[in-house]
Amino acid sequence: MEDTFEPRIVAFLCKWCSSAGSDLAGVSRMEYPSNVTPIQVMCSGSVSPLYIFSALNRGADGVLVSGCHPGDCHYIKGNYYARRRLALAKKLLEHIGLEPERFQMSWVSAAEGQKYTQIIKELVRELKPLGPQTKLRRKV
């Protein structure tokens, strides 16, 4: 089971840095796993913890939120707010017993296509042994 399991990852990428970074990875023809479903958001600061809970609720095996490096935010300070808010969300998810690997954050700039592919590879490698995420998945 474990070697055939492919985790589904939802990635919230900020438009100005991480999304451009993933684009760079694409146009540079870098290879990385296809497990990730990117969702472009205007800023990592606009990612509400609700998005993360909701993604896990609808069956994501892992969630990645990626934004600009601190100081590089297009909106000056959006990623600082994201850092604070999502740190709390991460602690909360760990508190109720979700594996910490399931929700991760990264800073990826528009020039870091290489780093983006690296993060996705690592994420997939970490999520594979955990198996499907069933804890928060909707069962109605």
Binding site: P49, L50, F53, S54, N57, P70, K77, Y80, Y81, R83, R84, R85, A87, L88, A89, K90, K91, L92, L93, E94, H95, I96, G97, L98, E99, P100, Q104, M105, S106, W107, I119, E122, K135, L136, R137, R138, K139, V140
Partner: protein, 343 residues
């Protein structure tokens, strides 16, 4: 000791002078021993006011209702509302002020210091009395509660029946008040995060098993939300009541309506709801413990809120409810906020 007579005098004076619209306080409840929230409108009614260890309710909640009511009135009475607050309730008022939900001159705060004790925990008391019904509870002289039952009097040490939240209280006196009754004496609290430490030491799987069992009980009655002074959103994530579907609602409108979670009380949705509530209360919860008390199925909701409180303090050095001029936790940041979890 809080002198109840002086509280009554002050309340009477305020009402007679017309300084306040009405006073929210505590009166003897219908069941004979517990306090009930009371709305005192006439000066002669102030005799009803009481103050004893059964005054659990966080009366700051009624300020939220008051604001809603006032917004609907054509010619609102702009006088302040008198509100009787304990230490925890006063911090709730601070948060409401901090978030500019109410103005400082909307409230006239009558602060009561809990001094040596706090409020009793009904469940602990019931266990202690073996099902006997108390008639009256008083704070005794030497760190004990005097519990009167039909067949006599029992002296129970404060620590044994004090509510959990009071055992971990950070300030058992009002941090903001117009008039203060009682002394600002700080009761010794050894560890304000005692209750969650056991929880934190568990392995990830055990934590999950614990929450799986407890949250599966949730019946989604939303008592926690109704009783919480901080849960004042006009529209809650869990029920989109403001967007009623009528005959005129177009398919497009319906499609655009976001439905975050299902209403059925199943485990996954219960977790979602409680996670959302916890994250919305992060840095705002003042640990009045009302959600836990109101919960009909005894879910230890404080464990969620307390965790957020602890993380806010540990990661960001933030304590909720002490300074109305401070920005709220997630509307500010520092350059040196921890980011070791970010790749």
């Amino acid at each position: 000791m809080v002198n109840i007579q002086s509280l009554k005098e002050e309340a009477r004076k305020c009402l007679q002078e017309g300084k306040v619209k009405y006073i929210i306080g505590y009166e003897k409840g219908a069941d004979g021993w517990k306090a009930n929230p009371a709305f005192i409108k006439k000066p002669e009614d102030v005799e009803k006011l009481i103050w004893d260890p059964t005054c659990f309710h966080n009366l700051a909640r009624f300020l939220v209702d008051e604001k809603r009511r006032k917004a609907k009135e054509k010619q609102p009475d702009t006088r302040p509302v008198g509100v009787v607050v304990k230490g925890c309730d006063s911090r709730a008022v601070v948060i409401l002020l901090q978030e500019k939900f109410i103005e400082r001159n909307d409230v006239y705060i009558l602060g009561l210091s809990c001094e040596k004790a706090g409020v009793v925990d009904e469940r602990k008391l019931a266990r202690k009395l073996d099902g006997k019904k108390p008639v009256k509870i008083e704070l005794g002289e030497k760190d004990n509660f005097l519990v009167f039952t039909d067949d006599g009097k029992a002296e129970i040490p404060v620590r044994e029946i004090l509510a959990e939240r009071c055992l971990e209280c950070k300030a058992n006196f009002p941090v903001i008040s117009d008039v203060l009754f009682g002394e600002k004496t700080k009761r010794e609290v050894l560890n304000p995060f005692q209750s969650i430490e056991k929880m934190e030491s568990l392995a990830q799987e055990d934590k999950w098993n614990f929450w799986k069992q407890t949250l599966a009980k949730c019946i989604r009655c939303y008592a926690c939300r109704s009783v919480c002074p901080m849960c004042y959103c006009d529209e809650c994530v869990s029920d989109t009541i403001n967007f009623a579907v009528t005959a005129d609602t177009t398919a497009e409108e319906k499609a655009q309506k976001i439905k975050w979670l299902e209403k059925s009380p199943v485990l996954s949705e219960n977790i979602f709801y409680n996670l959302v509530r916890a994250i919305h209360l992060a840095g705002r919860c003042i640990d009045c413990g009302e959600c836990e008390r109101a919960c009909p199925v005894n879910i230890p909701l404080r464990l969620l809120n307390k965790k957020m409180e602890k993380e806010a303090l540990k990661l960001f050095g933030y304590e909720a409810g002490f300074d109305p001029s401070q920005p709220s936790l997630i509307s500010c940041f520092k350059d040196e906020d921890p980011q070791d979890f970010i790749r």
